[in-house]
C-alpha cells in the first residue's frame, strides 16, 4: 500500500486497533524508514493526545499522589528500613501538606480554567502559564460566591511579579481604563499597570518583575482616566488580600 492509502490508519495503528494485515503494512513503511509515514504517525499521536484530553475533567483524590510517591520512595532507595522510613516521612509530609496543597491546587485549576476563556495574545498566555506552573506562585481568589462583581485570581510570585486573571469586569466608559495597584502592608498603593477588559468582561494583566512578598498587603484594581493615575482616584473594583502567603 502507498503512504497515501495508509494515511487514514495511523490513529488506529497508534491506538493498537488495526487488524494484522493493515498493521503489517504500516510497520513495513516504518521499518524501511519512510519519512511520510513517520510524520503521519507523529501527527496521529498528537491528535490522539488532544482528543483524549477532551475528556470531562475530574479531580483524583489526594491519596493517589501520596500512594504514588510513597511507592517510589521505597522502590528508589531500596535499602529496606531506610526506604520504608523515607516513604513514611513522605507520607506524613504529604498528609501535612495535604490541606494547603489541595486549596492551592484547586485555585490554580480555577485560574487555568479562566485563562482559557480570555482572548489574549499567545506570548502573554505562555507567560501566564509559566507563572501558573512556577511552584513559588501563590494564588488568592477574589469575588468568589458573589454573582455580579468581578471574580478571579491574583497570583503572586517573588521572582516574576503579579498575574491577575479577572472576569465579570464592568464595561468601561469611554476614556477610562483599569489600573492595578500593589499595596504594601500599611503603605501607599504603587501603580502596577493599565489594562482593558475584553468584550466579555475578562482580563489578564501581568506585572513583571521581582516582588517583596513579605511586605505585600493587597492587590487592587480601580477605574482610572485613560492615561492612568499615580494614586487611585476611585473605589477599587477588585481588592485581593495577599498578605501572609
Amino acid at each position: 500500500m502507498t503512504c497515501d492509502e495508509l494515511r487514514d490508519m495511523h490513529e488506529l495503528y497508534s491506538l493498537g486497533l488495526l487488524e494484522r494485515e493493515e498493521k503489517g503494512e504500516i510497520d513495513a513503511h516504518l521499518v524501511r524508514g519512510c519519512d511520510t509515514c513517520r510524520k503521519n504517525l507523529k501527527d496521529a499521536l498528537a491528535v490522539n493526545a488532544i482528543l483524549m484530553s477532551f475528556s470531562p475533567d475530574l479531580a483524583p483524590p489526594a491519596r493517589v499522589k501520596r500512594r504514588l510517591l510513597a511507592s517510589l520512595g521505597v522502590k528508589r532507595a531500596g535499602w529496606g528500613w531506610l526506604g520504608a522510613l523515607a516513604a513514611a516521612c513522605m507520607l506524613v509530609l504529604a498528609l501535612w501538606l495535604g490541606a494547603e496543597e489541595r486549596r492551592r491546587a484547586s485555585e490554580l485549576a480555577d485560574a487555568r480554567h479562566s485563562l482559557i476563556e480570555i482572548s489574549v495574545q499567545r506570548d502573554r498566555l505562555q507567560q501566564a502559564i509559566g507563572f501558573l506552573n512556577d511552584p513559588e506562585t501563590r494564588p488568592v481568589s477574589f469575588g468568589k460566591g458573589q454573582p455580579a462583581p468581578p471574580r478571579g485570581t491574583v497570583l503572586v510570585n517573588p521572582r516574576s511579579g503579579v498575574l491577575l486573571i479577572a472576569s465579570n469586569l464592568p464595561p468601561l466608559a469611554a476614556g477610562r481604563i483599569y489600573e492595578m495597584w500593589v499595596i504594601p502592608k500599611g503603605g501607599t498603593p504603587r501603580p502596577a499597570g493599565l489594562f482593558h477588559s475584553d468584550a466579555a468582561g475578562t482580563a489578564l494583566h501581568i506585572l513583571s518583575g521581582p516582588l517583596d512578598i513579605g511586605t505585600l498587603g493587597v492587590v487592587a484594581v480601580t477605574v482610572e482616566p485613560e492615561s492612568g493615575s499615580s494614586a487611585p482616584t476611585t473605589t477599587p473594583v477588585i481588592a485581593a488580600p495577599v498578605a501572609g502567603l
Binding site: E19, L45, I50, P60, L68, G130
Partner: protein
C-alpha cells in the same frame, strides 16, 4: 448511548495540560531520567488530573481509576530512561500510557486479552513520542480539533469514542453496533478525515 457525551468541560484544562507545557519539559524529563522522586511529583501535578479523567472515562470506577493512575505513572517512571528529553513530549506519552492501561484493564475484565496487550505495550514505547512538530501540539491545533470534532455526525463520534475509550477494533465495533464492517470502516475513515482536513485547512489558511 452514554459514551456520546464527548467533549464539554475538560477542554480548557486539557489545552493547558497537554499543549502549552511540552516546550518547557526538557528539564523535567532530565530530572525524571535522573530518578528524582520530586520530578515525579511534578509530573503528577501536571498530568495526574488529566490522566485520572481519561482513565475514569474508560473504566467508570473510581477505585480502579486510582490504581490505574498509579500504574500509569510507575510505568512512565520505569521507562523514562529511553525517553528523548530533548525532543520528546511527556504529555502525549503519559496520556497514551494512561489510555492504554485503562483499555488493557477493560479488555482483561471482558476476556478480550491476548495479542492486544502486546500491541498496546508497543505503542507506549517512549521513543515514539519524540520529534513532534511544534504546531502539532499547539493551542491552535487543539481549538481546530475541537471545532472539527463538533462537525462529526453521531455515528462518526460513536466510532471515535469506541476506538479511543473502549479500545474496540473496527470488527468489534461492527459487532457492537450491529452494522456491516464496511459501514463502520467508512465512519471511522470519514471521521478521521474530517479531523485531519480541518487541521490541514487551518494550517494552510
Amino acid at each position: 448511548m452514554i459514551f456520546l457525551k464527548f467533549l464539554p468541560a475538560g477542554l480548557a484544562y486539557a489545552f493547558l495540560q497537554v499543549v502549552l507545557r511540552f516546550k518547557e519539559e526538557t528539564e523535567l524529563a532530565r530530572r525524571l531520567k535522573a530518578r528524582e522522586p520530586e520530578a515525579m511529583a511534578e509530573l503528577y501535578d501536571r498530568y495526574g488530573r488529566l490522566t485520572y479523567s481519561i482513565i475514569y472515562r474508560v473504566v467508570r470506577n473510581t477505585a480502579v481509576a486510582e490504581d490505574l493512575v498509579q500504574e500509569t505513572f510507575l510505568r512512565v517512571w520505569n521507562r523514562v530512561h529511553s525517553f528523548d528529553q530533548q525532543r520528546g513530549a511527556l504529555g502525549p506519552w503519559v496520556l497514551a500510557v494512561a489510555r492504554n492501561r485503562a483499555i488493557d484493564y477493560l479488555r482483561s475484565i471482558d476476556g478480550r486479552m491476548s495479542a492486544g496487550a502486546l500491541e498496546l505495550d508497543r505503542m507506549e514505547n517512549p521513543a515514539l513520542f519524540s520529534g513532534f512538530e511544534d504546531s502539532a501540539l499547539s493551542i491552535d491545533r487543539a481549538r481546530q480539533l475541537k471545532n472539527a470534532f463538533e462537525k462529526l455526525t453521531p455515528s462518526q463520534r460513536t466510532v471515535i469514542e469506541l476506538a479511543y475509550f473502549e479500545g474496540m477494533s473496527q470488527t468489534e465495533m461492527a459487532d457492537r453496533l450491529k452494522q456491516p464492517l464496511g459501514t463502520v470502516k467508512t465512519w471511522v475513515r470519514s471521521a478521521l478525515k474530517i479531523l485531519r482536513d480541518e487541521l490541514i485547512e487551518a494550517a494552510t489558511a
